[in-house]
C-alpha cells in the first residue's frame, strides 16, 4: 500500500530564517506531487505541483520554492521566511493521469515568529 510522510510535524521559525519541508511517498512510482498551504480558517491553496523530476509548476508567486530531487521526494523551501508564511503545509500525491484523487500527508504546522 502507499504511504506519504512529511516532516517535521511542527516548526517554529523566526522571520528571515530559511525553511525546508520534506515529503516522501512510498509504494508507488512516478506519482504527481503537490504542495498546499492552509492558512487559518481558509481552504487549501495549491502552491506547487510536479508531474515528474525537474517538472515543477508554481501556482502562486511567493518567496517559496519546490524541488524534486528523487521520483518520490518533494521538498518545499524558502531562503527567508515571512510572517505571512505561517500556516499548515500539506503534501499530496496522485496517480498522475490515472486518477483524480489526491492523497494527503499528515501536514506540517509552521509558525513564523
Amino acid at each position: 500500500s502507499q504511504t506519504i510522510h512529511q516532516w517535521p510535524a511542527t516548526l517554529v521559525q523566526p522571520v528571515g530564517s530559511p525553511l525546508s519541508l520534506e515529503c516522501t511517498v512510498e509504494g508507488t512510482s512516478n506519482p504527481n506531487l503537490y504542495w498546499y498551504r492552509q492558512a487559518a480558517g481558509r481552504g487549501l491553496q495549491l502552491l506547487f505541483y510536479s508531474i515528474g523530476i525537474d517538472q515543477i509548476s508554481s501556482e502562486v508567486p511567493q518567496n517559496l520554492s519546490a524541488s524534486r530531487p528523487q521520483d518520490r521526494q518533494f521538498i518545499l523551501s524558502s531562503k527567508k521566511l515571512l510572517l505571512s508564511d505561517s500556516g499548515f503545509y500539506l503534501c499530496a500525491w496522485s496517480r498522475g493521469t490515472v486518477d483524480y484523487e489526491q492523497y494527503f500527508g499528515p501536514g506540517t504546522r509552521l509558525t513564523v515568529t
Binding site: L44, L46, Q102, F104
Partner: protein
C-alpha cells in the same frame, strides 16, 4: 478568484439525522468533483467523488449529488455520527489533475 465555493462555514446536526453540505462552482470546465474530510492537525482524507457524466454517487452513508446545470453539488451523510464531526472540503478538477478547493464546512454532530 475562488472557483469553488462552500458558502456555509459551519453546520450543526443531531446524531442520527442527515447532514447536507453544499458546494457551488463557477468553472464550466470542471469535470470531476471530490469531497474530503479533515480533522484538526491532520491531512485531508478522500471521502467520495463524482464524474460529470453522473448525477449521483453513493458509498455507504455518503452520497454526492451533482447538478451540472446549476453548477452545484452536495454531500449527504446519513445517518450522522459523532465521528463525522470534522471539516469537509469540496474540490473540483478540469482534466489537468489539479484540484481547486472550497474553504470548507465545519460539521458538528451533537449527541
Amino acid at each position: 478568484d475562488q472557483q469553488v465555493k462552500q458558502n456555509s462555514p459551519s453546520l450543526s446536526v443531531q446524531e442520527g439525522r442527515i447532514s447536507i453540505l453544499n458546494c457551488d462552482y463557477t468553472n464550466s470546465m470542471f469535470d470531476y468533483f471530490l469531497w474530503y474530510k479533515k480533522y484538526p492537525a491532520e491531512g485531508p482524507t478522500f471521502l467520495i467523488s463524482i464524474s460529470s457524466i453522473k448525477d449521483k454517487n453513493e458509498d455507504g452513508r455518503f452520497t454526492v449529488f451533482l447538478n451540472k446545470s446549476a453548477k452545484h453539488l452536495s454531500l449527504h451523510i446519513v445517518p450522522s455520527q459523532p465521528g463525522d464531526s470534522a471539516v469537509y472540503f469540496c474540490a473540483a478538477s478540469a482534466e489537468d489533475y489539479k484540484l481547486s478547493f472550497g474553504a470548507g464546512t465545519t460539521v458538528t454532530v451533537r449527541a
